[in-house]
């Protein structure tokens, strides 16, 4: 529309002026198109990134699956690619990741939800204003710092209580990862609670419910889709978390549910290989792409699931 205005000569303007405006407008129009194209190209970089991730992971994994059958990879219970005899069963790594994620959820989901309820429903404005930045800082602390904290603070505490605990153990990793994802659960759930309209609460009070009853039986159920979406996102983040588990959980892939033992997660394995000097192109090198592909698919599936839950089960009010 702007171009149309620029192209038509101003009423009462002389011929030459009109012509030069037109000439200018043609140059302008090309410039506008060029800019638009450049901006679109910026937008396409994100698509290119996704395509790049998928292409790299799939391409290198194909090389891996030429030598190891997908069945053996997905169902094998031994993971020893770095020494002989080599076994390529990824289950111990998946088990390690799940152990940490479950442990982290046990801490982060209840604490995060309770914080969200407190912040959204109870906290006076002044308390809220001080607590929100604290949660933001907690969310911004680099994961390697949490790893250090797990190793030098939490593990010694656990070993006081359970002396048989190893220096590296799943429990301390799970605890810090839990702390790490509390802010995510709290802030996303709080948004969901905020979105519940006022009149639902008022209707509940009108029926004689107390504030506690209103929150637990009206507000939280109404915000449930958002809350569950936040839970899933947080768990997906826990599965993808890398440095804290690398530092605290150890490097011994094993199928166990004992959190006091040393384990290895998918992410920690990838780090372990890239820290060593594994030659490019070998089967050991290719394992990181196969494990990376599995990790990518698990987290992507969870992210998509959380979006579906958010959209499909959202209670829509007016």
């Amino acid at each position: 529309m702007a171009e149309a205005v620029a192209a038509s000569p101003a009423p009462g303007a002389g011929e030459p002026v009109g012509a030069s405006t037109l000439a200018l407008s043609r140059a302008r129009r090309w410039r506008e198109r060029g800019i638009r194209g450049a901006l679109l190209a910026c937008g396409l970089v994100s698509i290119l990134t996704t395509v790049g991730i998928v292409a790299v992971l799939v391409w290198e994994s194909i090389g891996f699956f030429r030598e190891v059958s997908p069945w053996e990879f997905l169902t094998g219970t031994q993971w020893t690619p770095l020494f002989k005899p080599q076994h390529f069963g990824v289950l111990p790594l998946v088990c390690g990741s799940l152990l940490v994620a479950v442990g982290a959820s046990l801490i982060a989901l209840p604490v995060g939800l309770a914080s969200a309820i407190y912040l959204a429903e109870y906290a006076p404005e002044r308390v809220r204003k001080t607590l929100k930045p604290v949660l933001e800082i907690l969310a911004g602390i680099p994961t390697v710092v949490y790893g250090y904290f797990a190793l030098t603070f939490i593990t010694p505490v656990i070993r006081e209580v359970f002396p048989s605990t190893g220096v590296f153990n799943a429990a301390s990793a799970a605890i810090v990862v839990g702390v790490m994802i509390i802010p995510m659960v709290a802030s996303l759930s709080e948004d969901a609670l905020y979105a519940v309209p006022r009149h639902l609460r008022e209707a509940s009070y009108g029926l004689g419910a107390t504030k506690y009853e209103t929150i637990t039986r009206v507000v939280v159920p109404a915000a449930l889709s958002g809350i569950i979406a936040s839970f899933i996102l947080a768990i997906s983040r826990a599965i993808g978390e890398t440095m804290a588990v690398t530092l605290a959980a150890g490097a011994t892939p094993k199928l166990t549910v004992n959190p006091l033992e040393s384990i290895q997660t998918m992410t920690a394995y990838i780090v372990q290989v890239s820290l060593g000097d594994t030659p490019f192109g070998t089967i050991e090198y290719k394992t990181i792409f196969a494990v990376g592909l599995l990790l990518f698919m698990i987290t992507l599936a969870m992210n998509i699931l959380s979006r579906i839950i958010l959209r499909r089960f959202r209670e829509v009010y007016e």
Binding site: R31, S46, T50, V56, L247
Partner: protein
């Protein structure tokens, strides 16, 4: 029977009101305790790290290269590497991120492509950082033959923070009232002129805030840089973007992973420096944000 059906899903209140109120009180305290837990943990973490690392902090620590001997080791190479890497990350991600945000907010038609881009950005934000490391390793280090260089690391981090930059820039641009655009177009400016001279200057503080927060995430990233092969022991500072490098979080990781207590103290001292940098970046972003709020 119909009465049964009507009450089947209903909740019956306990008749004793004081008891119900008591539950309410208990619940508030439980929620409050959970929230305080976060504050408490942050305090414990900071105190623990300060206690262990403060003794190692000195000018010598900032100005020495890593060493096998804890008492002589420092973070000079890591500090320079971090500044180089984050600088290039900003240079790469700022134009790409803001460009994409401008396109999506101002130009994009409501079609399939736009929806795909937008969904894709949301999905990328949830991809674990180590996967970006895998991408960087295969594309920048191997295929583009940039080696284990500052540029390869910065490009990887730029892709990693791109979704954050795009989403926050979009919010900043969206916050500019439409009347501003209408005024620009009304006096005959082209769309780009309107954007460049009216919309973007107003959105700029918001965009900058998002950019600073995104870079503060890049500063703390460790895993993707380990993937692309940033080294853990380096006794020189980078001079060109193609030089090898290390960064502060990797240096901290390296020290934390050693069993000796001396190195743990070094790691804690490194963490203090890292957190100080992060907190000042966050403070800067908050100040910018508040300034922006006052204007509108």
């Amino acid at each position: 029977m119909s009465a049964d059906a009507a009450t089947a899903g209903a909740v019956e209140f306990d008749v004793r009101l004081p008891r119900r109120r008591l539950w309410g009180h208990v619940f508030v305290w439980v929620c409050f305790a959970a929230t305080s837990l976060a504050v408490l943990l942050l305090a414990v973490l900071l105190i623990d790290i300060l206690r262990q690392g403060a003794g190692r902090l000195s000018l010598g620590f900032l100005d020495s290269f890593p060493s096998r001997f804890p008492e002589r080791a420092g973070i000079k190479s890591a500090l320079y590497g971090t500044v180089w890497t984050v600088g290039f990350t900003g240079l790469l991600s700022f134009p790409l991120g803001v460009g994409a945000a401008i396109y999506l907010e101002e130009y994009a038609p409501r079609n399939l492509l736009t929806r795909v881009i937008q969904t894709n950005i949301a999905n990328l934000a949830g991809v674990p950082s180590i996967v970006y490391g895998v991408l960087g390793l295969a594309v920048f280090v191997r295929a583009m033959a940039l080696g284990r260089s500052v540029v390869a690391g910065a490009a990887t981090l730029a892709l990693l923070i791109l979704p954050v930059v795009i989403i926050s820039s979009q919010e900043a641009i969206r916050a500019v009232p439409p009347s501003i655009r209408e005024a620009g177009l009304g006096v005959g400016a082209t769309q780009w002129q309107t954007l460049q001279r009216l919309v973007l200057p107003i959105a700029f503080p918001g965009i900058l805030t998002g950019m600073i927060l995104a870079l503060s995430r890049a500063i703390g990233e460790t895993a993707p840089l380990i993937m692309i092969g940033a080294l853990t022991f380096i006794a020189f500072t980078p001079n060109t973007p193609l030089d090898e490098f290390t960064v502060l979080p990797i240096q901290i990781f390296n020290w934390a992973a050693r069993p000796q207590a001396g190195f743990h103290e070094l790691a804690a001292a490194g963490i203090i420096v890292l957190l100080a940098a992060l907190l000042s970046m966050n403070a800067l972003a908050i100040i910018l944000r508040n300034k922006l709020r006052k204007q509108i």
